[in-house]
């Protein structure tokens, strides 16, 4: 049973159609990247959901800490002047 566990985990990203960015759709296990792409084709594109696949080994992804959510993401909240709605402009002008 152990051998299955040693297949690394891969994150799968699909480009839905040309012109769109790749988006994360899920993950799967595979022994190498070629089989990961192959398996992703079978698992995530059975109904034409994608025209391009990326696979990235889960182990190489670095992520922000969810506990840092506040300190990391709060600062923009008081910078309302970064949004166009902050500014008053004549209503009859297209601006």
């Amino acid at each position: 049973m152990k051998e299955r566990g040693s297949w690394p985990l891969w994150e799968v990203f699909l480009r839905g159609r040309r012109g769109l960015a790749h988006q994360h759709v899920g993950s799967l296990h595979a022994p190498d990247w070629e089989l990961a792409v192959q398996n992703a084709r079978d698992l995530y594109t059975r109904r034409g959901e994608g025209v391009s696949i990326w696979v990235v080994e889960s182990a190489v992804i670095h992520a922000s800490d969810p506990d840092d959510g506040g300190p990391l993401f709060d600062p923009p909240a008081d910078k309302v002047y970064r949004h166009p709605t902050f500014y008053e402009v004549p209503e009859d002008l297209k601006l």
Binding site: R4, S6, G26, D32, R46
Partner: protein, 318 residues
């Protein structure tokens, strides 16, 4: 309730749930929330995997190429659904091999519906119509479950599952309009699958021990009995359209409640099948074990190939 020495993080967790914020894998969560989800998602994944067997038995005997192609696609979808769900469970810290092990040793269960045999071709249609219909009713509610990876897997599964139900309905409609023998075959299958389908929603709310906590954590959004009622209300008109009878003399429209009343469910049978004494329990696990050991050489070969020909995966680094 035990564990009253409350962790202060628990109150914050519940507040976040109450505010309809999804829980994501790296968030802090109570151990019981994690354990409940692992058990539920694993059981769901195992059901998809075991669920390939009753229908898979008919692939070589499908009556036309069209039906064979449809059935192959459906069974392949079930495999896919199992894999989405295993991935969701793994985000909670359990490994794939542990999950497979727990299925094969019976430490985790799968839906007891798959312990019933598929005796005739009409069973394939009835499973699509009733069993997948019941599954969709349950899964639609789960698309709003509080754990993000589980909810996302459910959205994907629901999108794919509706073809399953429609192909089953169409198959039964054809049989029902066919020869008297075909019609009788369809009715016989519906007679056998109706009650087990109602049992798929689990015990009545009054005797469902984990339900209250699961509802509080918004893992579960709708109660077993309410989902069951939704399914009955949806299915009765479909049965009428098929010209088939649901085997319950007490099934009647209730003007005052605005729902269909239905007769009592045999919960002793449910308990018996769930605890291993159904018609196919032993066979399902035996077939699963054989598939696992029979595929061992493929996994072995793939790993040997990867070691020889690819750049080593980062996760494998010694």
């Amino acid at each position: 309730m035990a564990g009253a020495a409350a962790d202060p993080r628990e109150a914050a967790f519940q507040a976040s749930i109450d505010a309809e914020r999804s829980v994501e894998p790296r968030d802090w969560m109570p151990e019981r929330y994690r354990a409940t989800l692992i058990r539920q998602i694993a059981q769901h994944a195992h059901s998809e995997i075991i669920g390939m067997q009753p229908e898979g038995n008919w692939i070589t005997r499908a009556p036309s190429l069209r039906r064979k192609a449809i059935l192959l696609a459906k069974v392949q979808d079930e495999a896919g659904h199992g894999l989405y769900l295993y991935s969701a469970a793994e985000t909670l810290g359990v490994s794939r091999s542990e999950l497979v092990e727990m299925l094969q040793t019976g430490r985790q269960k799968y839906s007891s519906i798959f312990n019933y045999p598929t005796l005739t071709w009409a069973d394939v249609g009835t499973i699509g119509w009733l069993v997948d219909g019941a599954a969709i009713t349950n899964q639609l509610a789960l698309t709003k479950t509080s754990y993000g990876p589980y909810a996302r897997a459910m959205v994907r599964i629901c999108r794919e599952e509706s073809f399953h139900q429609r192909q089953g309905f169409e198959l039964l409609a054809q049989l029902s309009r066919g020869t008297p023998a075909q019609r009788a075959m369809a009715q016989d299958a519906v007679d056998r699958w109706w009650w087990p389908s109602l049992m798929m929603f689990g015990p009545p709310d009054g005797s469902s021990p984990n339900s209250a906590q699961s509802m509080k954590w918004k893992i579960k959004r709708v109660s077993n009995d309410e989902l069951r009622q939704r399914f009955v209300d949806m299915t009765v008109p479909q049965a009428q359209a098929l010209g088939l009878t649901l085997p319950d003399p007490e099934l009647n429209w209730n003007e005052s409640s605005g729902h269909y009343d239905f007769g009592p469910i045999d919960w002793d049978e449910f308990a018996k099948v769930l605890n291993g004494d159904g018609p196919c329990n032993a066979e399902r696990i035996r077939v699963r074990r054989e598939a696992d050991s029979g595929g061992a050489w493929v996994r072995e070969a793939a790993r040997a190939w990867a070691a020889k020909h690819s750049h080593p995966a980062a996760g494998d680094a010694a």
